[in-house]
Each structure stands twice: as structure tokens, then as C-alpha cells.
């Protein structure tokens, strides 16, 4: 309990929000809309987990939104050109992975600060896309949507897939040697190096994995609608980072869990529909979102302060 105070405080705030919704707006808990909500958030969850891993190795990636858009648009164009889904998905993952590789090489090998590198790639990729597509939608062929399944099968598959992926990542981070390397490098790169870990390789690998996850997430989003908007994913980086840090991933590296990220993302994802269900005017939304983020992290601060005073 003590160790996971941040995660629990987020879960607590989320539970409070849900309880309030159950009291004031029980309609929130209908199966079909809730399933849709979860399916819509599944890509963000995957991206947020990737970002969390990057933060755990004491780096940051703010270019995920642009990577997401690039993967989505290229995947959409390929699908529109008649490629089968079985070929489009690996290509999307590959593109995501190589974008991650570029970031990773610049960060790990040139030793540039990751926030700067990914700030540059955020802007550069987004503007490239603007230049090439000028905002035009990509219309997809029918068979792409829901991977050729029925809608509810597709939605369950996406939600299940995202949760499965999170479970695998959670297990891997906890039980695989490679997972522990992330924490080691994030806590103290020099100590990790002395312990026989190669911090650069770990950092590079994390960025590549992050990119590949973004590619997967982009596909999870593409299959949910018959059109791709090139602007898709803009602002995703902020949501993913917010989910990660609210969910207890320490920005200073070496600490955090994928489960915390899941709780953080669910909290953030619920705010907007909750506003709709509680009939609160939209112009209050950002202020309330800010307050909820602060509330979720303040618990930890207050507690530490009390311990400190003791």
C-alpha cells in the first residue's frame, strides 16, 4: 500500500468518479457505449504504456502523436491501394519501429536530450504530413473495418488485445531481465553499466519498442472507422504522458508500473464522457480535468509532507 500510494490514489480518484457517476448518471454504465468508449481508448492505452516505458528509462517521447498520424496515414494509403490487412499491420509496426529507431539513435548514440529530439520529430513529422496530405481524408475499403469481423467482435478483440498487451508488458517489466534493465537504466545509468547492462542499447530498444507499439495502436485506431484523418493523434502525446505520470510513473525515471498507467488513462478517458453524462457545460471541462490531475497527484505530496513533518 505504502509503496504504491500513487497508483492507489489514482484508483481511488477513479473509483470516486465512477461512484459519483453511478449515483448521478447510471446511464454511463450501459454495456455498448462503455465497450465503444473502451475500444476508442484502447489505442491510447497502448501508446501510454509505450510512453511509460520510455519515461521509466528516464527519457521522454513527445513525438508519439505525430508517429501515430504517420503510421495511420501510411497504413490507410496502403489499405486503400488494395494491400491485405495481413500486410498492412506489419508495415505499420515497422514504420512505427523505424521512427522510434530514429529517435532512439539520436538519443542513445548522439546523447541528445530526448525531449529536444522528440520535440523536433514531433514538429517535423506533423509538418511533413501536412505538406503531403493537406488534411485530406484517406477513404478505406470496407473489409478493413473491424478486421473483417462483426462490430462487437472487433471491439472486444481490440479491448482484449490492448489489455493482453498491457498484461504482457506488465509481466515483462516485472519478470524479464530485459524489463528490469529498464528500471536499472532509469534509476542510474552508470550503476547499470557497471552491473553489466548496456544503457544505450536498452534506451534504443525502448524507443524502438515505443515506436512499434505506436504502430500497433495506429492500426487499432484505423480499423475502428472507414476513414483516416491525417490530423488523427494530434495531442495524443499529452494524453499519454499525462496518463503515465498521473498513473505513478516517475518523470525522473526508474519507477512506475503499467497497471498504474492503465488506471491513469482510464481516469483521464472517463472525464470527458462523464461531463456529458453529468450535463456539465463543455467549457468547464479543461478546468475540471486540470483539477483532477492535480488532485490525483496531490495525495502523494500531502502524504509525503505528513511523513516528512513526523
Amino acid at each position: 500500500m505504502n509503496r504504491w500510494i500513487r497508483e492507489w490514489s489514482v484508483v481511488g480518484v477513479l473509483a470516486l468518479l465512477l461512484a459519483y457517476l453511478a449515483w448521478r448518471a447510471p446511464a454511463f454504465f450501459q454495456l455498448q457505449p462503455l465497450l465503444s468508449l473502451l475500444a476508442r481508448e484502447a489505442p491510447s492505452l497502448v501508446v501510454a504504456c509505450g510512453v511509460a516505458m520510455v519515461i521509466i528509462v528516464r527519457q521522454i517521447d513527445i513525438s508519439v502523436g505525430s508517429q501515430f498520424s504517420v503510421c495511420s496515414v501510411i497504413a490507410g494509403l496502403l489499405a486503400a491501394a488494395g494491400w491485405p490487412l495481413a500486410a498492412v499491420v506489419p508495415v505499420a509496426v515497422l514504420i512505427g519501429g523505424s521512427l522510434g529507431l530514429v529517435n532512439g539513435l539520436l538519443v542513445a548514440w548522439l546523447g541528445l536530450p530526448s525531449i529536444v529530439v522528440t520535440l523536433a520529430t514531433l514538429v517535423a513529422l506533423r509538418q511533413c504530413l501536412n505538406l503531403v496530405r493537406q488534411g485530406e481524408f484517406v477513404n478505406l475499403p470496407e473489409r478493413i473495418q473491424w478486421l473483417g469481423l462483426s462490430q462487437s467482435q472487433g471491439q472486444w478483440l481490440l479491448v482484449g488485445g490492448a489489455v493482453g498487451l498491457v498484461a504482457v508488458l506488465a509481466w515483462g517489466l516485472r519478470h524479464l531481465a530485459a524489463g528490469r534493465w529498464l528500471y536499472a537504466v532509469g534509476s542510474d545509468a552508470e550503476a547499470a553499466r557497471l552491473a553489466g547492462i548496456r544503457p544505450r542499447a536498452v534506451t534504443l530498444g525502448t524507443f524502438v519498442l515505443m515506436g512499434a507499439l505506436t504502430g500497433i495502436a495506429a492500426m487499432m485506431n484505423v480499423v475502428q472507422s472507414p476513414q483516416v484523418q491525417p490530423l488523427t493523434g494530434s495531442g495524443l502525446e499529452l494524453k499519454a504522458i499525462a496518463a503515465a505520470v498521473v498513473g505513478g510513473v516517475a518523470i525522473s525515471g526508474g519507477r512506475g508500473t503499467v497497471w498504474g498507467v492503465l488506471a491513469g488513462l482510464l481516469l483521464l478517458a472517463c472525464i470527458s464522457p462523464a461531463m456529458v453524462h453529468l450535463h456539465i457545460d463543455a467549457y468547464w471541462e479543461k478546468a475540471i480535468q486540470g483539477l483532477i490531475i492535480l488532485a490525483a497527484v496531490m495525495v502523494e505530496g500531502l502524504r509525503r509532507r505528513r511523513n516528512h513533518a513526523r
Binding site: 536530450p113 529536444v116 511533413c128 480535468q289 505530496g301 509532507r305
Partner: protein, 351 residues
């Protein structure tokens, strides 16, 4: 450079004055980039139009436009420099600009307060908002990134709630519009304000004990505490100053556009951070200069505005996209070059 504060050497770096050489080199590098940019745009972006008037980059008007357009982002970059030096970050400055703009609009229009009073109160709001950040960061010891991510949303949200998203304040008196649109002593009025803020921040960072303390905190917060530096006080000063400068930027923004609206300054924090890091300030804190920030702001502003004057870019109708692309490239190239220079120097020292 006599009173330049003692600077802890980077971990693993050779001792001695090498860091100073690096700084000098990096800033010279940036200055060169700026000069090259300027010359290129001067050469290719100036022309004589069919009315026989010289137009484009090489005109004085154009240079003033660049000054005026980059003033708010420049102010935010100056506000962020001390914060980032302490190893912190403030993502909320752009939102705060928006909040202060509508607060100012509300005070003058809805409450009918006289302009100077409203302006002063707006600066107070900026200080209070900065104080909120500082309080959460220092008193509760929460990470600055999370706190200001929260207030980033909160301040913008308050601005929207305050105006119900729709109210736009305009029709400001001409006397106020001078601040953003007029000239004084040959220069745009806001350039003088910018200069004053730049000099103040420079003195603070490079000529006072407090400024030195900021760097020490950025390098080693625990060490700073043990060295007897009032960490909380210094941090509070940095965030409150950032709030006040953001409020000042809001006043200038409102005056330049002649309107105050909840979306003022949307996304400006990103530009400001870009300028600061391009200026050579380490995002991890401890290392950086105000001069670098100013050069960073100028390099980006000249690039962005200069591109728009190039005939070829105008034919492509792609000034904004290209500016984004090139800013990204410039950022990477500058930092990689700085890094490379550092490596070369290290190898020459050790080997």
C-alpha cells in the same frame, strides 16, 4: 564575464574552464546560424514590387514585424529560462497567457476598471498563478512536469469557463493598442518591454547570488540544500516570475491583436521551450544562459518569418510547414553540433 558564477563541471567532464569554452562556442555557433539565416533571407527574400517599393525580408518594416511577432514567445522563453535552469519546467505558461488575456479583458470591459489598474491586477493574477505552481512544487514536492501539466489544463480551462468559451473582448482604447502596435523611439513599443525583461532576467541569472543558486539547484538539489541555499524560496521566485512575465506577454498579445480571447497563446509553451533548448540551456537544469535563449528565439523567429518571404516558398504555399520542418532540423543540428564540439574538446583534453 568577471562575475560569471562558478559552475559545477558536468559529470565526467574534464575540470577547468572547458565548460566556458563550450558555452562560448555554442553561442557563437548559434550566432553564426542566425547570421547565415539572416543573410540568406536578406539575399533571397528581398525584392522590388511592381509599385517600385522594396519589399520582403530586407525592409525595416519586416524586421519590426519579426520583433513584434516573436515578442510574446520570446517573453515566455525568458520566463522559462530560470525555471529550466533549476531543473524544472513550466508547461502552463501558454495557458496562463490565455487566462491573463481574458482576465484583463474582463477587468477592463465587464468591470470597467481603468487600464493601468486592470493591467496591474492582471500581473497579480500571473503572480498568483505562478505561486500556485510554486506552492504545489515546493510545498508538496511534486514534480514540476506533472504540476504544470495539471495547471496547463486548469488555466486554459478557467479561461474558457470565464468567457464561457465564446466571449471575445475587443474595442480596446487606442492608448492601450500602442503597446502592441505602436512605435516608440523608432522601435515597436513591446521591443522596449522585451528588452527590459531580458536585461532583468540576465542580471538575475548571471549577476546575482539568486541566479547562481538557481543553477546549483538545477545541478544538485540536495547539494544545494546542504550548501545552505533556500531552495524553496529560489524555486518560488522562478515560478512566480514566470507567471508575471506570462501575464505581461498576455497584455502585449492582447494589445497586438486588439482582442482578448480564451485561446490566446495556445501552444506557445512548446515554441518557448524549443527556443530555450535551442539556446543551449540543458533541459535537465544547471546549464544555460539568457543570451543563448535570446539567440534561440531570434534564430527561430528569423527562420519562421524569413521563409515566408522567399518567393519559392510562397509559390509552394508551405511557409508554415517548412518552418516547422526546418526548426526541427535546426534544433537537432545545433544540439548535435554542440555535442560533437564537446566530444572533440574532451578528447583533445584527455587524449
Amino acid at each position: 564575464m568577471r562575475a560569471e558564477p562558478a559552475h559545477p563541471p558536468a559529470p565526467g567532464a574534464a575540470a577547468g574552464p572547458s565548460w566556458r569554452r563550450w558555452l562560448l562556442r555554442y553561442e557563437v555557433l548559434l550566432l553564426l546560424v542566425l547570421v547565415v539565416e539572416w543573410l540568406l533571407f536578406y539575399h533571397f527574400g528581398t525584392s522590388v514590387n511592381r509599385r517600385g517599393v522594396t519589399v520582403g525580408f530586407g525592409t525595416l518594416d519586416r524586421q519590426f514585424d519579426i520583433l513584434r511577432h516573436s515578442c510574446e514567445i520570446g517573453l515566455l522563453a525568458l520566463a522559462l529560462t530560470p525555471v529550466i535552469l533549476t531543473g524544472g519546467i513550466d508547461l502552463s505558461v501558454g495557458s496562463l497567457l490565455g487566462l491573463c488575456a481574458v482576465v484583463f479583458g474582463g477587468l477592463t470591459h465587464a468591470l470597467g476598471l481603468p487600464l493601468p489598474v486592470a493591467a496591474a491586477l492582471t500581473l497579480v493574477v500571473g503572480a498568483v498563478a505562478g505561486g500556485l505552481n510554486a506552492g504545489l512544487i515546493c510545498q508538496l514536492r511534486l514534480p514540476p512536469l506533472i504540476v504544470t501539466l495539471g495547471t496547463y489544463s486548469l488555466f486554459r480551462g478557467l479561461a474558457e469557463a470565464f468567457t464561457r468559451g465564446s466571449v471575445t473582448y475587443s474595442d480596446f482604447p487606442a492608448g492601450f493598442l500602442v503597446l502592441g502596435q505602436g512605435r516608440w523611439g523608432g522601435l515597436p513599443v513591446q521591443a522596449w518591454l522585451f528588452l527590459a525583461v531580458a536585461v532583468s532576467v540576465w542580471i538575475w541569472i548571471h549577476r546575482t547570488v539568486a541566479g547562481r543558486a538557481c543553477r546549483v539547484i538545477g545541478f544538485a538539489p540536495e547539494g544545494a540544500r546542504f550548501a545552505g541555499i533556500g531552495v524553496r524560496g529560489q524555486l518560488t521566485a522562478a515560478y512566480v516570475a514566470a507567471g508575471v512575465i506570462a501575464a505581461l506577454a498576455a497584455l502585449i498579445y492582447t494589445s497586438r491583436l486588439g482582442q482578448a480571447k480564451a485561446d490566446a497563446g495556445l501552444g506557445y509553451e512548446l515554441f518557448a521551450i524549443t527556443a530555450v533548448v535551442l539556446g543551449g540551456t540543458s533541459i535537465f537544469g544547471g546549464r544555460g544562459t539568457v543570451t543563448g535563449t535570446l539567440l534561440g528565439v531570434a534564430a527561430i523567429a528569423v527562420l519562421k518569418n524569413g521563409l515566408a518571404t522567399l518567393p519559392v516558398v510562397m509559390r509552394l504555399n508551405a511557409a508554415e510547414e517548412l518552418a516547422g520542418l526546418l526548426t526541427g532540423a535546426l534544433l537537432l543540428a545545433a544540439l548535435a553540433a554542440g555535442k560533437l564540439a564537446e566530444r572533440l574538446r574532451l578528447s583533445s583534453v584527455t587524449g
